[in-house]
């Protein structure tokens, strides 16, 4: 009897391009990005960091509702999205609002999603994405279906979905990657491993040494990536996307990352389960810090440019929250009308009742 566990686990090495000092450590895998593209990626990451800071503040003021902090995950979220095309379909989890925004969801709608308004979930025409999924794992089985649909339609596009480390314990996680594998469907499955599912550390989710190796159960490709490294995340995503649209099937990508903030703004206190040492260790790996160093050394980024982005983000956010605040309140009649194409008798009756109430 031969033990294969160690052998398998050794195959999943952390893929890195840029170390935490902003130095290229993997020359052959540096993605082919122009200076403008590099600047745009940095711009989006800085913007997203500001968006997180402002969202937390707006939540504390009661101007936003449900909010899952994203600071620390910019490389994982934004650089992965940067490798996608407009025709790709995103099935985000509840922490993956930034990807939606960069895919085309207007900021004020993202705020309406947070506040609990259906207009926040109405993707504009041509924005290929669902609103954030609250049921952990459901986005995975749905992504398999979207990807199969793209394959049957003969599209040059992929379905992309995200879950966390905790989500890899769900049945739908396994079913999703397994279905996509069995149909050889063009899907990219991300696991953003930030080491905690609320308060539960990843070691309590599984005895597996990596989450990427779970791809083996589906017979598909799996990669473990430094999720604080924008160039590594971009390179792996681009690789997976190319493979998928060329008929190579799905890929599972684990990004090793961290959320500096709480799980959500609904009363979670990370000091109950995380040490300060751990937090500061991860802050040293901050994706903005290393990418900034890299770009400054290339002379394509400056403090002035960064401040411009910060100011622009703050302005945009101010405008967007104003627009969200001013957006017409929802009516029960609208909720009823959004249920079916043709209303059944019970809703017809209730629609009449609420129309009368609303006209008084």
């Amino acid at each position: 009897m031969k033990h294969v566990l160690e052998e398998i686990e050794n195959k999943f090495e952390v893929f890195q391009v840029l170390n935490q000092d902003g130095e290229i450590v993997n020359k052959e895998n540096v993605p082919d990005l122009s200076d403008d593209e590099l600047k745009e990626l940095m711009t989006r990451m800085v913007y997203t960091r500001v968006l997180d800071q402002r969202s937390i503040a707006l939540n504390r003021q009661g101007r936003l509702g449900f909010y899952a902090p994203t600071a620390g995950q910019e490389a994982s979220q934004i650089a992965s999205h940067f490798a996608l095309e407009k025709q790709d379909f995103i099935l985000p989890g509840y922490r993956d609002v930034p990807q939606l925004i960069w895919h085309g969801l207007p900021l004020y709608q993202a705020f309406l999603f947070s506040k609990g308004h259906f207009h926040g979930n109405q993707m504009p025409e041509g924005v290929n994405a669902l609103s954030p999924q609250i049921i952990i794992g459901a986005q995975y089985v749905q992504a398999a279906g979207v990807a199969l649909g793209m394959k049957l339609r003969g599209k040059d596009a992929v379905a992309v979905t995200y879950t966390g480390d905790g989500g890899t314990s769900q049945g739908d996680f396994y079913e999703g990657i397994n279905f996509a594998g069995a149909y050889n469907a063009p899907a990219i499955f991300f696991i953003q491993n930030n080491y905690f599912a609320i308060s539960v550390p990843v070691e309590k989710q599984t005895a597996a040494k990596t989450l990427a190796q779970k791809a083996v159960a589906a017979g598909i490709e799996g990669y473990q990536v430094d999720g604080m490294d924008p160039l590594a995340v971009y390179a792996v995503t681009e690789h997976a996307r190319k493979r998928a649209i060329n008929g190579g099937g799905p890929t599972l990508i684990e990004t090793l990352t961290y959320r500096y903030g709480p799980h959500t703004m609904a009363g979670d206190d990370p000091t109950r389960y995380r040490t300060k040492d751990l937090d500061s260790e991860w802050e040293k790996r901050d994706p903005l810090v290393r990418f900034r160093t890299y770009l400054e050394n290339k002379n394509v980024w400056s403090e002035e440019q960064e401040n411009e982005v910060i100011e622009r983000a703050k302005e945009d956010i101010k405008e967007a929250i104003k627009k969200a605040d001013a957006y017409p309140k929802q009516k029960v009649t609208e909720l009823i009308e959004n249920m079916y194409e043709n209303l059944p008798y019970n809703l017809e009756e209730q629609l009449k009742e609420y129309r009368e109430r609303e006209s008084n």
Binding site: H119, N121, I135, V141, Q142, G145, G149, G176, N338
Partner: protein, 325 residues
């Protein structure tokens, strides 16, 4: 007109829709080359190809997820859940996801999905094959739940279900699959979802039923006729939404009603029917609305199904109680 069993009528409806609309996809466990464990999809893969009619891995939750994803790509999925007792595995995809899609996305995405699934007792199936779980589905806003009792109804309702732009749960009673043949037009036709059908006109008492219990009611009605009781039998055909107009008009005529279901008393949809009647027609009632149901236990072990399942004798007993109230 052809003489068809209900299962043939169901296959015929799927064939019609696969031919008519290239977005219709039929998939599930063993529905492809095998033609389904009940032969409901017999010959369809051969006729339409593996891209239109295909097998899935054995996982109900992902079959539901697959349907949702395919619908997002503009397809019209007709997935099969092999037995409806396996619903629990796919409850989130159905109730938590596809039922809510139109609402949660503010009418930008829809789930034009028809979930077909067999259920129902009387054929001595093993555990969790025969359970009547339509009550769970009927409680979920966003779904429609259709249960045919004849070959004719099955074809027309399934075509309507597949063409509906909202999710429909289409439940097929296993005992009715091949127990009799009926006249079914060979050409396409539709039956409106949410419309009941009066299977027997009567003036003394209204029997409201669905699924296999429609036939138990018809049998009871012909025995009651010998005792001079003229029962009207309403086949709901759609258990959510209910056809309130047909139900109330009948009760206003007969002034007495018994609701008959195969599900346990605490399950099914009989309580909803009774509540609607008392809210809308209490002044027409000469007696309370009574229910015929199975007992509130887990579904019967196969060897005692006959004693456990409600039948025409239970119906006759309840009719006597409302007549003599």
């Amino acid at each position: 007109m052809a003489q068809m069993t209900m299962i043939q009528a169901i296959t015929d409806a799927m064939r019609n829709e696969l031919k008519k609309d290239e977005n219709v996809l039929v998939f599930g466990e063993d529905v492809g080359q095998n033609g389904g464990v009940f032969r409901a999809t017999e010959g369809l893969q051969k006729e339409f190809g593996e891209d239109r009619v295909f097998d899935t891995p054995l996982a109900e939750s992902a079959i539901g997820g697959l349907a949702i994803g395919l619908a997002l790509e503009g397809y019209r999925p007709v997935p099969e859940i092999q037995f409806f007792g396996f619903l629990y595995e796919v409850m989130d995809s159905i109730s938590g996801q596809m039922a809510r899609m139109r609402y949660r996305t503010g009418n930008t995405f829809t789930s034009p999905i028809t979930v077909r699934s067999p259920f129902g007792g009387g054929v001595q199936t093993p555990e969790l094959h025969a359970d009547s779980l339509e009550g769970l589905m009927a409680q979920q806003p966003g779904l429609k739940v259709v249960i045919p009792s004849t070959p004719y109804d099955a074809k027309g309702l399934l075509i309507s279900a597949i063409r509906d732009n909202d999710p429909v749960i289409f439940l097929e009673h296993m005992k009715l699959y091949r127990s009799f043949r009926g006249e079914v037009p060979e050409e396409e036709y539709t039956i409106e979802i949410g419309k009941a059908d009066i299977k027997r006109e009567g003036k003394d008492v209204t029997l409201i039923a669905y699924g296999a219990m429609v036939h138990a009611c018809l049998k009871a009605a012909s025995e009651l006729e010998k005792d001079g009781i003229d029962a009207e039998v309403i086949d709901l055909r759609t258990v959510s939404p209910l056809d309130i107009d047909t139900i109330i008009a009948s009760v206003e005529k007969t002034n007495r009603a018994v609701v008959v279901q195969e599900a346990q008393r605490q399950a099914g949809i009989a309580a909803t029917v009774a509540a609607e009647i008392q809210e809308r027609a209490i002044l027409h009632l000469e007696a309370p609305v009574l229910r015929v149901t199975a007992p509130d236990t887990v579904y019967s072990f196969a060897a005692v199904e006959d004693a456990w399942l409600p039948d025409h004798k239970d119906i006759i007993e309840k009719v006597a109680a409302v007549m003599n109230f």
